[in-house]
Symmetry: C2
Subunit: 262 residues, 2 copies
């Protein structure tokens, strides 16, 4: 039997709120066995950007990572947010080690093609070093990844944190029984976006295709679900989408994604 590995991505309103973040880190610290945390930088990067006079160009609603923005997110994601989290987790007796994909070449990415749209220093994951991450886990260290990768030729790249979490989970699935948690400030995938009690308990692939066709999935949720089903196809055992309490309370509402209902 493969050992269990839990990959937890926190974002969406959890990072910006000191109390919510602290609760999330507590819940994460309590998880037993091998685990990995993944995070972005949320609104903090935008706030520091304003102070530094760095504005992000947006194309079709998506941020372009120019050289200045890359400096900004490297400071905020890999520096401030990552290291404060690591220190907090250490204070909770969780042996966290903060990483980018550049560190030990654990996540190599390729810069996104400049056509049709040039998003700048944005990377798509090319390779996760399973043996490297396993080595770190075997030292009883808990990796905390921020949303930065590199091209292995000297260039840091901005990579979506949801994608990083899904790519790590998928890559580690050969060696581990993996559960991927997408932890944010909603209780799961909602049937009615205005009713937070309308959490859909589980979604298999047939239902996912149907929900998409009926356009009943909130716009912001679509990439999360696409990432999730991609990861499930590549061997991830289960994906849970919900809020922080789901990490410590197995009865807490959440949306669980499967390929097929058994």
């Amino acid at each position: 039997m493969k050992p269990h590995l839990q990959i937890v991505k926190i974002g969406g309103g959890v990072l910006e709120d000191t109390e919510k973040l602290s609760a999330a880190l507590h819940a994460f610290a309590q998880l037993e066995g091998a685990k990995i945390l993944v995070h972005g930088g949320g609104k903090l990067a935008t706030d520091f950007g304003h102070k530094l006079g760095i504005t992000s160009q947006m194309i079709e609603g998506r941020r372009v990572t120019n050289e200045e923005s890359l400096v900004l997110i490297t400071m905020v994601y890999a520096g401030l947010v990552n290291k404060k989290m690591v220190a907090q987790l250490q204070g909770m007796r969780c042996n966290a080690i903060g990483l980018t994909g550049a560190d030990a070449n654990l996540i190599k990415a390729t810069i996104r093609p400049k056509h049709p749209i040039d998003f700048g220093f944005v990377g798509d994951v090319a390779r996760v070093d399973v043996a490297g991450i396993e080595g770190v886990l075997n030292l009883r260290m808990t990796p905390v990844f921020c949303a930065i990768t590199h091209d292995a030729a000297g260039q840091l790249l901005n990579t979506n944190a949801d994608t990083i979490a899904a790519e790590i989970a998928a890559a580690m699935s050969d060696q581990y029984d993996t559960t991927l948690f997408y932890c944010f400030d909603k209780k799961g995938v909602l049937n009615d976006i205005n009713d937070e009690h309308s959490v859909i308990e589980s979604i298999d692939e047939t239902r996912y295709v149907q929900l998409k066709k009926e356009q009943r999935i909130a716009q912001g949720m679509l990439p999360k679900l696409a990432n999730s089903f991609n990861a499930l196809h590549r061997g991830v055992t289960r994906v849970c989408i919900g809020s922080v309490p789901m990490l410590s309370d197995t009865q807490y509402p959440r949306t669980t994604l499967f390929l097929h209902h058994e």
Copy 2:
């Protein structure tokens, strides 16, 4: 026989100059065997501080690390400087992994007593986790430490990079034959501060005491020498002070420090 371990601290004018930094990283990447890099953030932190309106209070010529300054150095040292270096080293086929002392609890510090002077969030090294660093080295990863530690109770702390390098070198000396390099923009300890050709080739402890008594050591060099002799007393084999080329050229001028001439 113990395996060799080289600890290289770079600072003082090397970090701010893209070409010098690149040369230093190249020389470091070429070093054979186990090695560790240590760096601060130099003038970059001051520059970003100006942009963010964060000014450092100075007491008796020494910087006070208030909460704002800690945010600043965490962004600049652990984020920007550390991760850019890691990416560059990876591009040179050196398997760098960027770390603070908080990561994997590798360097625990205690906050400096608030009396007689309150320096804020400044930490003095309490414990280097030799087994943890050895574990990372055994994974064929090359640690790159910035000048940040933690108290293991949730608080990041600012710690002098020269001291971190000396503490790591001293702690690792039980397991390794250690050489500590202090790499900056001078060729070594100078007999005459205005003559860069007046490098003192070697200094043993007797000569060190004598030079100190005669007040012939430049003010900025005193803590480096104190750190060095402290490390030598704790088992470090040799300390070399000089500029980047000494890393790759054994004939290049430098000052080598020993306890006793053999």
